[in-house]
Amino acid sequence: MTTTDGVIEAPAFVRRNTFIELNARARAQSLMDPGSWRELVGPFDRIQSPWLAAQNIAPQFDDGCVVLKGKIAGKSVVVIALDGGFQAGSMGEVSGAKMATALDLAAADSEHGKQTAAVLLLETGGVRLQEANLGLAVIAEIISSVLRLRQYAPVITVISGTVGCFGGMSLVAGLSSYVIMTPEARLGLNGAEVIEQESGIDEFESSDRDLIWAIDGGEQRVGMGVADLLVNDDSGEIAAGVRRFLNSEPPRVYRSQQVDLYRERIAALDTSAQIDPHSIREAWGRKEGAR
């Protein structure tokens, strides 16, 4: 694209301030007021997984979990970012304990009158299988911490991609006050490869990217009402979305409290023919009174 004075100008998608290409620490920092944050249990504290090296896997100094305490638009927050580049952002004993403890500290502050919200940047395949039951246990702890904090302050989940949010951590996303996604992001309980492995290629073909994104992708998840806001992969858009929800009232009813509604919806599905993603959006999409 050339402007009238001959200067070559890159198209908008090149000029955008990408969020996905930032690492976990930079993602968290990009959302926060400059100079307001400090890192809790950072890499120089060297709290690593004690289990990975025993299984011939390199550990990471921050165990793939970055915790920054600071402010967004003047409001007290803790931003917890998972590093999708390390073991697919999986939750082990250390990374899980860091997240659960940070959420508990925010809840304790909130209970004592200093409202502290949480922003979770989830890029994770869920439980770290190498840490087995400890991984499962920390997911339970994180869930109970989210349920405690969300009574006092918003818990905002951002799934930007490209790992997506799966397994036990998809439950954490589901319990959040608000969920922000990009079209590149995916959200699901089981990942495509797990479904194909367990139920066969006829059930879900894990190499069919169009199919996977049509079902797990951000557009579909927001369209069917299990996530709240679709934004482009742009740091400014994501930061604006986070600020909007920080200033919002808590949801009138959480999705996790609408068990009967979702049971009715599932019971009403006609499984005699293949259900397509579009019809789910039509049937389940945000309507008056849904939330």
Binding site: A58, Q60, F61, F86, Q87
Partner: protein, 98 residues
């Protein structure tokens, strides 16, 4: 897993600051760099790929033939190639100065 240690007495210039670069993901590595507690540079590598001690020594020798800072370096390696190792070392030095 293999643990490798290297010392470079010639790298004795005092440095300040600290840096953290890289990720312990496949084909890459993570590195912490900070001032050494002694008057020489010390490198500690934890790698998931066994049997490449000579390659690590060659890369470190080359790096410290040009760099003289008394730094303490700790590496978590998930199979970085020598080129990536050198790149991460240089990146850490650059970040140290900031």
């Amino acid at each position: 897993m293999e643990n490798l240690e290297f010392n470079y007495p010639s790298a004795n210039r005092q440095v300040t600051g600290r840096s953290h670069v890289g990720v312990a993901g496949s084909g890459d590595m993570e590195l912490l760099m900070q001032p050494s507690e002694t008057s020489e540079a010390h490198v500690s590598v934890l790698t998931s790929v066994n049997g490449f001690g000579h390659a690590w020594k060659a890369v470190m020798d080359r790096f410290f033939s040009k760099y003289d800072g008394a730094v303490r370096i700790e590496i978590n390696d998930a199979g970085a190639t020598p080129g990536i190792v050198m790149l991460r070392l240089e990146q850490a030095v650059e970040a140290l100065g900031k």
